[in-house]
C-alpha cells in the first residue's frame, strides 16, 4: 500500500512537525519545510501529492509559492492553512487554484476530510 505524500510548509517549525506527526499517524507521508526555497526543492525531489501552505513565509508569500508549485506541476493540490485571514486573500488564493483556505487552529478531523476530498477528486497517478 502506498501513502499520499504531503508537504507541510510553515515558518512555525513546531507546528509543522506536530502536524506532520499526526498526519503520519493517519497514513500520510509527510515532509516539512519552514521556508519557500526549502519547500520548492522538496517538491522537486519528493513530488508530493498535496501541499499545506502557510500564507506568510520568510522568503516568499504563500500566494507566490502556489504559482511556483503549479508551474512545476498543476496537479499538486494546495491547501492554505493560516493564522492570518482576510476575505480578499481568501478569494485570491482560491482563484489561484487552492483547494481550500483554512484558518488556524483547525480540527485535524476536518483537515483530514478536506485532504481526502481533494486527493480523491483526481486519483493519484
Amino acid at each position: 500500500m502506498f501513502n499520499y505524500k504531503i508537504l507541510i510548509v510553515d515558518d512555525e517549525k513546531d507546528f509543522a512537525l506536530t502536524l506532520s506527526e499526526r498526519l503520519s499517524l493517519r497514513n500520510f507521508d509527510c515532509i516539512i519545510a519552514t521556508c519557500a526555497s526549502d519547500a520548492l526543492s522538496l517538491i522537486r525531489s519528493h513530488h508530493p501529492d498535496l501541499a499545506i501552505l502557510d500564507l506568510r513565509l520568510e522568503d516568499m508569500s504563500g500566494k507566490e509559492l502556489i504559482s511556483e508549485i503549479q508551474n512545476f506541476d498543476p496537479n499538486i493540490k494546495v491547501i492554505f492553512l493560516t493564522g492570518h485571514t482576510s476575505e480578499e486573500e481568501r478569494k485570491e488564493c482560491l482563484q489561484k487554484g487552492a483547494v481550500d483556505y483554512l484558518l488556524k487552529p483547525i480540527e485535524l478531523r476536518k483537515l483530514v476530510k478536506i485532504i481526502n476530498d481533494a486527493l480523491e477528486v483526481v486519483p493519484h497517478h
Binding site: E12, D14, F15, T18, L19, E21, R22, L25, T82, G83, H84, T85, S86, E87, E88, L103, K104, P105, I106, L108
Partner: protein
C-alpha cells in the same frame, strides 16, 4: 453669560420705555403749564372785568349825582347827605362823601369822620381832578387811618370858575370782596398792586397792604402779562393785568402747576404702565435668557455627543483593528497548542493502556476545550475584520428579518417568548448586504431573547424614517440595561455574561457592520422596562463611515 444676556436684554428693552415715559412726562409738564396759564389768563380777565364794572358802577352813581344836582344843591349839606345815603344804600362800600370847591376847600362832608373844611388844594388827586373830568386815587391810611380809595368827579360851572369836585371814598375791603369772587382753584393768590409794586390789597403770599411784591409787574404794559418766578422756594406762575382808569394792576398767582384730576390720573396710568411693562420685560428677559442658555447648552451638548460618537466610532475601529491583529498573532501559537494536544491524544490512542491514562485523556481534553474557546474568540475577531467586505443587493428588509426569526423561532417557542413583527408598508427596498444584515439582526434579537424571561415579548418594527433612511426597532420586555453598561455596550470584549458564555464581541461586530453599511445603531433602555435598539439604514448605498 446668563447675567450678561439678561443685562443686555433689560437695557435694550427698558431704555426705550424709560426714554418714552421721560418724554411723556416732559410733554405732560409743558401741557400742564399751558393749561395753568390758560386758566390764569381766563380768571385774570374775569377779575379785571369784575373790578372795572364795579368801579364803573360807582362812577355811574357819581356821574348821576353831577348830572342831576346843581352846584348849589351839591354844596347844600342836607341835600348832599340825602344823596350820600341814597348812594350808600346801593353800595355799602361808600365810606364818605365830600364836595370841594375850586380852591380846594371841602365845603360839604358826609361821613363818619370830621373832615369838613379841610383844604385839599395840595393833594394829588385834587390837582388831577382839576385837569381831568374824573379820577381814582388810592390811599392806604390817609386822614382816617384805614385803607381806602377815592373817586372824584368835577362838576363844571357855566363860567368854569366855580367848578366843584365831588369826592367819594370807598373802603378797600369792598375791592377785596370783588377779588375774592374769582375762582380759588385757578389761582392761589389774587391782589392789587400799583406801579411801585406796593400791595393795595392783602396778599396770601406777600402779606399786608403796603408790602412790596417781589414780582415783575410790567408797569408800562397795557395788556395782560404772563410770567414765572421763584419766591420763597416756591415756583410761581402769575399774570399781571392793568385795571382801566385806576392806578392798579391785578395780579393772579398760582403756586406750582395746576393739577387737574385728569392729569393726575394720566400720570398714575403712565407710571403704572411703565411699571407693568418693566415687570413684563423683566419676566420675558428672564424667560428668553433661560431659553437661550438652554439652547446654547443643548447645542453644546449635541456637539459634545457628536464628538463623543465620533470618538466612540474611532475607538471601536481602532480596537477592532488591534483585536484582529492580536487574533492573527495568537492563532499561530494556538494552532501549535492544538496540534500538540491533538498529537498527545493521537499517541494515547495508538498506545495501550497505562496508569492514569484516563486522567491524561481528561487533561488533554481540557487543553483542547480551552483551545476551542480561544479559537472561537480569535475567529470572531477575524470575522470582525473580514466582515468589513460588503456586497450590496436590493433587498426587502422584512424578508431579512423573517429569515432571522426563522433561525431562532424554535428557541423562542421553547422559552415561550413571543416575537411580534410590525412591518410598515411604507418602507422601501434598500440596497444593502443581506448576509451582514442577517448577522446584525441575529445578534440583536439573540441578545433580546437572552434579556427576556419566560412569557416575555420581543417586538420588531420597521419604519420609514425619511426618503433616505429606514429604521428597524427591536424592543424587548426584559430587565433593561443600566446606564453604565449602555455606555460601553458596543465595545469589543465588553460582556455582562458570565466568563465563557459570551465573548463580548456580538454587539461590537454588529456596530461595525451597521457603520460599514452606512447606518447607525442606538440603544435606549430603562431599568425594568426593557431595551430598544434602533438600527437606521440608508435606502441607497453611500460613503461608508
Amino acid at each position: 453669560m446668563y447675567d450678561s444676556i439678561i443685562a443686555v436684554m433689560l437695557v435694550l428693552s427698558l431704555s426705550p420705555l424709560f426714554l418714552l415715559s421721560g418724554l411723556l412726562f416732559q410733554q405732560y409738564d409743558y401741557i400742564l403749564e399751558r393749561e395753568t396759564e390758560q386758566q390764569l389768563r381766563w380768571n385774570t380777565e374775569i377779575a379785571k372785568h369784575n373790578l372795572e364794572s364795579y368801579i364803573e358802577q360807582i362812577k355811574y352813581l357819581l356821574k348821576f349825582a353831577i348830572k342831576e344836582y346843581s352846584i348849589e344843591e351839591l354844596l347844600d349839606q342836607e341835600k348832599a347827605e340825602k344823596l350820600f345815603y341814597n348812594m350808600k344804600s346801593d353800595y355799602k362800600g361808600f365810606v364818605d362823601f365830600g364836595v370841594i370847591d375850586s380852591k380846594g376847600e371841602q365845603k360839604v362832608y358826609v361821613g363818619p369822620f370830621d373832615l369838613k373844611g379841610i383844604n385839599y388844594s395840595d393833594a394829588d388827586w385834587f390837582k388831577k381832578s382839576s385837569i381831568g373830568n374824573e379820577n381814582i386815587s388810592a390811599f392806604f391810611k390817609g386822614y382816617r387811618k384805614i385803607p381806602h380809595f377815592i373817586v372824584t368827579l368835577t362838576k363844571y360851572s357855566k363860567d368854569n370858575k366855580n367848578n366843584v369836585v365831588i369826592r367819594a371814598s370807598i373802603d378797600m375791603q369792598t375791592i377785596e370782596n370783588v377779588l375774592s369772587s374769582v375762582s380759588t382753584t385757578a389761582c392761589d393768590d389774587i391782589f392789587l398792586v400799583d406801579n411801585t409794586k406796593t400791595l393795595h390789597t392783602t396778599s396770601i403770599i406777600f402779606g399786608d397792604i403796603e408790602n412790596e411784591v417781589s414780582l415783575n409787574i410790567y408797569p408800562y404794559s397795557s395788556i395782560m402779562m404772563f410770567d414765572k418766578a421763584v419766591y420763597d422756594d416756591t415756583y410761581l406762575i402769575y399774570t399781571v393785568m392793568p385795571i382801566k382808569d385806576t392806578p392798579w394792576r391785578v395780579v393772579l398767582v398760582k403756586r406750582g402747576l395746576l393739577i387737574s384730576k385728569n392729569w393726575v390720573k394720566l400720570k398714575e396710568e403712565v407710571v403704572f404702565t411703565v411699571f407693568l411693562m418693566s415687570a413684563c420685560v423683566l419676566v420675558i428677559s428672564f424667560v428668553v435668557a433661560q431659553k437661550l442658555i438652554w439652547k446654547f447648552r443643548e447645542s453644546e451638548e449635541s456637539k459634545e455627543s457628536a464628538l463623543m460618537a465620533a470618538q466612540q466610532a474611532g475607538k471601536l475601529a481602532s480596537i477592532g483593528r488591534l483585536a484582529a491583529g492580536v487574533a492573527h498573532e495568537i492563532n499561530n501559537p494556538l494552532a501549535i497548542i492544538d496540534q500538540k494536544a491533538g498529537l498527545m491524544q493521537d499517541l494515547m490512542e495508538f498506545t495501550g493502556d497505562f496508569e492514569q491514562k484516563g486522567k491524561f485523556d481528561l487533561q488533554i481534553k481540557g487543553i483542547r476545550d480551552a483551545v476551542q474557546r480561544c479559537k472561537s474568540i480569535t475567529h470572531r475577531l477575524l470575522g470582525f475584520a473580514r466582515r468589513m467586505d460588503i456586497s450590496l443587493d436590493e433587498i426587502d428588509i422584512s424578508s431579512v428579518i423573517n429569515d432571522v426569526i426563522s433561525f431562532i423561532d424554535k428557541e423562542a417557542l421553547y422559552r415561550q417568548i413571543k416575537i411580534e413583527t410590525e412591518f410598515s408598508e411604507a418602507v422601501p427596498r434598500i440596497f444593502s448586504d443581506r448576509g451582514q444584515l442577517q448577522q446584525v439582526f441575529l445578534n440583536i434579537i439573540n441578545n433580546a431573547l437572552d434579556a427576556v424571561v419566560e412569557n416575555g415579548l420581543v417586538n420588531i418594527k420597521t419604519l420609514k424614517k425619511n426618503d433616505d433612511f429606514i429604521d428597524v426597532i427591536i424592543q424587548d420586555s426584559g430587565h433593561g440595561i443600566p446606564p453604565y453598561i449602555i455606555k460601553n455596550i458596543f465595545e469589543p470584549f465588553f460582556t455582562t455574561k458570565e466568563p465563557g458564555k459570551g465573548t463580548g464581541l456580538g454587539l461590537s461586530i454588529t456596530y461595525g457592520i451597521v457603520k460599514k453599511l452606512g447606518g447607525e445603531i442606538t440603544v435606549e433602555s430603562e431599568i425594568g422596562k426593557g431595551a430598544q435598539f434602533t438600527i437606521t439604514l440608508p435606502v441607497k448605498p453611500q460613503q461608508a463611515t
